[in-house]
């Protein structure tokens, strides 16, 4: 046998061996969430107690993107089992068959959850809002609506908005006087789009575009912007952890729901359902809301909360009153076109 043959034979055996070893490795349940202060809270009230109850699990974090899930599932080596996804990822992934069908009878039944949080492929994890955030120390006169956000004479300073068409166009229309419930009706028309971009033109040079949820509190803290659109939980976390004095405006807030899904073909389905049942229980969800200001999916969770905590949650009735849900069907249909259009506008 020649050296070459030995080498080739060794290489082949080695690669095959590596492939087999990785395939045969049974792994613990892996839960994936969004990192940051939010995942810290989840660790404390969900993951650690669940581990103590006797099921081993790991947690990882990700930055979203349905493409990531598609690559994981289609690649055939999914290393994740339970993932927290945003509403559009839920819809598209469900259409593409990336998720297992959610068996609600194994997690306490559909009737235990708010109707908006029940889906064929997933169960709601949290409800959260894009709100208008500002620094109370800098603005003595509190802004009341998105219209104030666009009023740079009364409130001088720059404004932070999430880069892209989504949320930006809705905010522009509400600032221009469209009622929250009519936003998508108006946005679906050519005139509505024109109107939104025209409104954005009025503060175009004062906008700082942010890309990641951690940026808006930093922009406020550094004094770069006077007001910004921001996830409500981030404001709450900055006030609690860093002793900031930030305020929020719930009027015209845009809310959305993140859901738990089980990736198609997960080898840990049993453990996954055990986990989802655990995090679906009202008393556990109430603990999460006490740690970070997000609403949750179980109908009974709010009743287990102190009124002082409840009033800062997206699911508090007063905060829901003038809020609008970010429309998944609208954005699925229009995101590509409006992304192009938004960038055309930005480059002008």
């Amino acid at each position: 046998m020649s050296k070459l043959k030995v080498a080739v034979g060794f290489l082949a055996t080695f690669t095959a061996g590596v492939a087999l070893a990785t395939a045969a490795q049974a792994r613990d349940l892996t839960v994936v969430s969004w990192g940051g202060a939010y995942q810290e809270a989840q660790k404390k009230v969900y993951f650690e107690p669940f581990k103590k109850a006797g099921t081993p699990m790991n947690d990882e974090s990700w930055d979203g993107g349905i493409g990531v899930l598609r690559a994981k599932v289609q690649g055939g080596a999914a290393t994740w089992d339970v993932v927290q996804v945003e509403s559009e990822e839920l819809a598209v992934g469900c259409e593409e068959g990336l998720f297992e069908t959610m068996e609600f009878n194994r997690i306490g039944g559909e009737q235990a959850y708010l109707p908006q949080t029940v889906d064929a492929c997933g169960v709601g994890a949290i409800v959260y809002d894009f709100v208008l955030g500002y620094d109370k120390d800098k603005l003595k006169d509190a802004p009341k609506s998105w219209a104030d956000f666009f009023d740079t004479t009364k409130y001088p300073g720059k404004r932070g908005l999430r880069q892209g068409a989504k949320t930006t166009l809705e905010i522009a229309l509400m600032a221009d006087g469209v009622a929250p419930k009519d936003v998508y009706k108006v946005l679906g028309t050519e005139e509505g789009l024109e109107r939104a971009f025209k409104k954005l033109d009025t503060i175009k040079n004062d906008i700082v575009w942010w890309k990641a949820g951690a940026q808006p509190p930093q922009l406020l803290a550094s004094g770069e912007v006077a007001m910004t659109s921001v996830y409500n939980g981030r404001i709450d976390a900055a006030n609690k952890a860093e002793k900031k004095n930030f305020g929020m405006v719930w009027n015209g807030a845009l809310y959305t729901i993140d859901s738990w899904v089980i990736l198609k073909g997960s080898p840990n389905k049993e453990a996954a359902y055990k986990f989802l049942d655990f995090v679906g229980k009202a008393e556990n969800q109430a603990k999460l809301s006490e740690n970070i200001a997000y609403g949750t999916s179980n109908k009974d969770a709010p009743s287990k909360l102190a009124p002082a905590v409840l009033k800062d949650l997206p699911t508090a009735p007063d905060n829901m009153k003038n809020a609008v849900e970010i429309s998944v069907p609208f954005w699925l249909e229009n995101i590509d076109r409006l992304t192009e259009r938004f960038n055309k506008w930005a480059a002008k």
Binding site: V68, S222, R341, A346
Partner: protein
């Protein structure tokens, strides 16, 4: 192999020398090949394979073909002049019913929505409202009754255009082109034509950063190359330290330095040069500053290595023959640094056109480079066809530039300036 070779040596009397030589050569060649085989396989699996897959995705058009096979077949000989006849409608109704039961309607409607905005609604609404298969002969009326869009030529042209198996749709889209109803290539609608601008922006920023790096890096490299070893090593640490620091850390440091209440603005205000803070970040200026800083070591290191090999005797000789310092520099020193300039510039430029994190964090909405859009379509909207097409255009443009550069710097060799 070796055993065979030894056996061959025993039989040397019968085998002519030429053939034996050939055999020995072949053995050596095979050995050499075996040595590079692991690398070759590695590159094939991790680099060439994925790139080929990406290029394939930019022309692959499988969705409609797979979900609506009968409709595609029925439209095969449709001339596109008028709304197709009853058979096509019947095929469509059948396909939609089948797709609904299989749960695959969304796969086709996502692809069709790229071609015609609003197609998602048309498809899902039709799938929901088509309770039973229409009676033979009534499919056309039924479908148009459910959604008048089925009576439009554009709707059917979109299906025909997405029939596959291969499509130019994504590649045209990446160049701001589209096909009109008659299949002729025309410019995309004005408010959606952004990609040529984005490519232009990407190359402009990359070129600007390359020039800035050259201007800043050349003197530094010269100093490093001419100082005594002890001092130049200390200075080299200053070049390498940022090189070893995480990209994200350096980018965020620039935000702290340049923001409106940052170090630069506060200092200027304190001196009294400005009243209002200057806008130094979240715009093009910030992108140039941060990217130049991040890429500077990639320019300095090749320059330094090429300058180290230039003997100082040349400059002395030029001076002794009466050349002024400027002439000596331009005619003797500079030409010898060309390989270093070339290598550094190409390295910086190629790295810059792929930049994503830095412009995303320190740029404004009008400063995003092409990688931002490739990432957006890959992960957020899963329009992998368009993402691949943008990637393919970028790859092609980069290869062309590399070839042109090779011709410029080395005449006929294409070595990317790495041969010095």
């Amino acid at each position: 192999m070796t055993a065979a070779f030894v056996a061959g040596a025993d039989a040397s009397s019968e085998v002519p020398l030429k053939r034996r030589l050939k055999r020995a050569e072949r053995t050596r060649r095979l050995k050499a090949l075996a040595l590079i085989l692991p690398l070759l396989l590695f590159l094939l699996f991790t680099f060439l394979g994925p790139i080929a897959g990406m290029l394939w995705r930019s022309v692959d058009d499988w969705e409609v073909r797979q979900v609506m096979p009968h409709t595609v077949a029925a439209l095969a000989d449709w001339d596109g002049k008028d709304v197709p006849g009853e058979p096509a409608f019947a095929a469509l109704a059948g396909d939609i019913r089948t797709a609904r039961d299989a749960g695959t309607v969304a796969i086709a409607s996502k692809r069709l929505n790229y071609a015609l905005n609003g197609f998602r609604t048309i498809m899902s609404g039709t799938a929901r409202n088509l309770k039973t298969l229409p009676e033979p002969g009534t499919a056309k009326d039924t479908l148009i009754g459910i959604n008048p869009a089925w009576g439009e030529r554009a709707t059917w042209a979109a299906i025909k255009g997405a029939s596959g198996p291969l499509t130019s749709f994504y590649l045209l889209g990446a160049l701001d082109l589209t096909r009109n109803l008659d299949g002729a290539i025309v410019a995309a609608p004005e408010e959606q034509a952004i990609y040529r601008d984005v490519f232009g922006r990407t190359f402009t920023i990359s070129l600007g950063v390359t020039v800035l790096c050259l201007i800043l890096g050349f003197p530094v490299a010269y100093m490093l190359a001419t100082l005594p070893t002890g001092q130049s090593n200390v200075l080299m640490i200053f070049v390498l330290l940022p090189f070893w620091t995480s990209l994200l850390v350096r980018t965020c440091a620039w935000i702290v330095v340049l923001q409106s209440e940052g170090i630069v603005n506060d200092s200027l205000r304190w001196i009294g040069l400005i009243d209002e803070p200057l806008r130094l970040i979240y715009n093009r200026f910030g992108v140039y500053v941060a990217m130049t800083h991040v890429l500077l070591p990639f320019m300095i290191l090749p320059l330094y290595s090429s300058m180290r090999s230039i003997s100082p005797a040349y400059m002395r000789a030029a001076a002794s023959l009466g050349a002024s310092p400027v002439t000596a520099f331009l005619r003797i020193y500079l030409p010898q640094t060309v390989p270093g300039i070339g290598a550094g510039s190409l390295l910086v430029f190629i790295l810059a056109i792929g930049y994503y994190i830095t412009p995303a964090l320190v740029g404004g909405a009008a400063d995003q480079m092409i990688s931002y859009f490739i990432a957006f379509y890959t992960t957020e909207t899963v329009n992998w066809g368009l993402a691949s097409a943008l990637g393919a255009v970028l790859l092609l443009a980069t290869l062309l530039l590399a070839v042109v550069y090779g011709k410029l710097v080395h005449g006929q060799q294409v070595t990317g300036g790495m041969k010095n």
